[in-house]
């Protein structure tokens, strides 16, 4: 048992070394020093309180999305449409804000309504993909991708059309809300402790939902063997839809946080790609909720740290994506190699 553990660890370590090795070669071929690049990324994310607060700002939506994806992955679904569900959450949150801004109601109530609205928006968008899958036979990957493009187009339509700024519409988004409608932030930072708490509570709930409830057990049965679960009398299509609804609601919450705490308006790229990045986190942690927090934090740190690269080293900030991708790719490959070795040994 211990030997198997050690072997596992060795394979994961090898994946880590290979990923950093590959990215270092890419950096050298681009004429940059790998050591300098890694150092700047580290300092860019952990170098000061302000920078670390930015890491946490990116961490919250990433964690929410990952928590949601753990549910759909448990049900055996590839919810690639999560990106559009984040966008839809942001749209509905902005919409609720616009409805109640002039109402004179208590801002706290409006903020809660806006975030709940965002969750409903994300859930509805996910349910559409789920319905396309269960009743239309459209694979969730392709349906989801299409829905992503539609959601993005909708954002742009709103920003340039009905919700455009007085004067001239631009890619800088809609008119920002007054400060009192923002989720309360820490002094001089964009970080909201409420948002952080929301993300952490979400992952804890999902952990217990999947590990400790009958619902989670049935969901995993559906994911492991759809046919067998159906024959055992589990209403499979209903469980698929539930998982879409839960994931959509959490993705919608991520979009809502982007609007209510970070940007205070709707932007064309409001999701910042956190939906797709969440898929990468979920794959890297092998769909185990227990690892979601550290890995989401690492990915958020890479994203924020890479912002330094164009400024300090004249390198493109997409290096973070290359490094994240290399990590996931090599972990997948090494896992395959490990399974192959086990099979050969037995």
């Amino acid at each position: 048992m211990l030997k198997a553990r050690l072997k596992n660890l060795a394979f994961q370590l090898a994946a880590l070394i290979l990923a950093f090795g590959a990215v270092s070669i890419i950096l050298i071929s681009a004429g940059a020093s790998p050591w300098e690049a890694y150092k700047n990324m580290f300092l860019g994310s952990f170098g000061s309180v302000r920078k670390f607060a930015e890491v946490l700002v990116a961490f919250v939506p990433l964690l929410l999305v990952t928590a949601g994806l753990l549910v759909t992955f448990s049900a055996g679904l590839w919810n690639i449409g999560v990106e559009g569900q984040v966008v839809m959450g942001a749209i509905v949150t902005t919409w609720v804000y616009r409805l109640f801004l002039e109402s004179g109601w208590n801002p706290a109530l409006i903020i809660v309504l806006a975030i709940l609205g965002g969750m409903v928006g994300g859930a509805i968008w996910a349910a559409l993909t789920g319905l396309l899958k269960t009743f239309g036979g459209v694979n969730e990957i392709f349906g989801g991708l299409g829905m992503n493009f539609v959601a993005t187009a909708w954002t742009i339509y709103l920003i340039f059309g009905p919700w455009k700024r007085p004067g001239v519409a631009s890619m800088s988004g809609t008119e920002p809300f007054p400060d009192e409608f923002s989720l309360p932030l820490l002094a001089n930072l964009r970080l909201s402790p409420w948002a952080l708490a929301l993300g952490l509570i979400a992952i804890v709930i999902i952990y217990f939902l999947l590990q400790g409830t009958y619902f989670g057990l049935r969901l995993k049965a559906v994911g492991k063997n759809f046919r067998a679960a159906y024959l055992l009398g589990i209403p499979t299509w209903r469980y698929s839809l539930y998982s879409f609804l839960i994931c959509g609601a959490l993705a919608g919450a991520a979009g809502a946080v982007q609007v209510a705490a970070v940007y205070h308006r709707l932007l064309p790229s409001i999701s910042s790609g956190y939906g797709y990045l969440g898929l990468m986190v979920a794959m890297l942690i092998n769909y185990q909720a227990i690892w979601a927090v550290p890995v989401a934090l690492l990915f958020a740190a890479l994203n924020i740290g890479s912002i330094q690269l164009p400024i300090v080293m004249k390198l493109d900030s997409s290096l973070s994506g290359v490094l994240q991708g290399a990590l996931v790719l090599f972990v997948l490959l090494m896992e395959g190699a490990r399974q192959k070795l086990i099979k050969r040994a037995s």
């Binding site: 299409g146 994506g321 996931v328």
Partner: protein, 332 residues
């Protein structure tokens, strides 16, 4: 709109569809062999950047296209290795590569942003280009567009009219049968995935050396093309001719969007550019809905003449994926 401008517009549609044609043909071959290459979106971006960089440095267009195809083949090799040899999830590996190759293209392409490099120009074919209508449409294109026409015919002939093509059809449906008849399923899967990847890789330089010459990084507007091509492959029902038709239909809709935009100026251009996506979802729905259980149950309830009509209609639209798509093959 005069007849002349309409013809030139339609000829432009045929040219601008060329990269998507390569991509859907490549994906069709790969999926026919049982391997989904989900990396397409990243592959196209990386080969667009790489093809442009090579052509810029060597001043040779052909080396640029070759580089694009090689990059596509290399990415496909990783997909094949992970899914065929290591038996990992094709979707997972493909998705990771889709994102990683995209970011890699932005990272490595940074120094090439906005540079002017070589660009493929039209080569009208003597005599044929003077024919009325067809001359303008088909015979005043550039070399890569001609190649896209030829590729459609070649891939179609290969799959439906040759012996190895018959084996290819079998591999997606029942790999065990191919194995029993002495075919090496896994080796063939490698070959077809890599050839398909090379075709997908041609799509990149077809953009960066012909249609939208140059490399513009994140604002090049290429991000997303690969996902569309993936949807078109399914729309095409794994038939190369039907997939190519889907590519042309898509290019036509985009062109129509541009034309309509000058008439309906109040609609933002970004919205019309994505107009094909909802249509794509709808077509996927039509293509797939005939496969679902509840539709069959509903059909059974209909009175006979109507039932026959609807069943026929659904069957005509239906496209079922190769049965063994995505599943690893083991001898025992």
């Amino acid at each position: 709109m005069t007849q002349e401008t309409l013809l030139i517009g339609l000829a432009g549609v045929l040219a601008s569809a060329a990269p998507i044609v390569f991509a859907v043909l490549g994906e069709t071959i790969s999926e026919r062999a049982g391997v989904i290459n989900l990396s397409m979106n990243g592959t196209i971006l990386l080969s667009a950047m790489g093809g442009f960089a090579v052509a810029y440095n060597t001043n040779s267009l052909w080396l640029g296209f070759l580089a694009g195809a090689l990059i596509g083949a290399l990415v496909a090799l990783i997909v094949a290795f992970a899914s065929v040899t290591l038996q990992q999830s094709q979707v997972a590996v493909g998705f990771v590569l889709a994102l990683t190759c995209r970011d890699l293209s932005y990272f490595l392409g940074n120094p090439y942003m906005g540079l002017t490099g070589p660009r493929l120009t039209a080569t009208p074919i003597p005599f044929l280009s003077d024919l009325p209508i067809v001359g303008v449409l088909f015979f005043r294109q550039d070399a890569i567009t001609y190649l896209s026409f030829i590729s459609i015919a070649l891939v179609w002939l290969w799959i439906y009219r040759t012996r190895p093509g018959l084996v290819l059809q079998g591999m997606g449906e029942k790999p065990a049968a191919v194995y029993i008849r002495g075919g090496n399923v896994n080796a063939l899967r490698y070959v077809y995935t890599i050839v398909g990847g090379a075709l997908i890789g041609l799509a990149g330089p077809a953009f960066s050396l012909a249609i939208r010459a140059g490399w513009m990084g994140t604002i090049s507007g290429l991000d997303g093309v690969g996902w569309i091509a993936l949807a078109i492959t399914i729309f095409g029902g794994w038939n190369p001719a039907r997939a190519a038709f889907g590519a042309y239909l898509f290019a036509f809709l985009q062109w129509l969007g541009l034309v309509l935009q000058s008439t309906f100026t109040e609609i933002p251009s970004q919205v019309l550019q994505v107009a094909p996506f909802p249509l794509m979802i709808l077509t996927l729905l039509f293509v797939n809905i005939g496969n679902t259980e509840w539709v069959e149950r509903m059909l059974a309830l209909l009175p006979e003449p109507t039932r026959k009509f609807f069943a026929k209609l659904l069957r005509a639209m239906r496209a079922s994926p190769p049965a063994a798509l995505g599943a690893p093959f083991e001898r025992d």
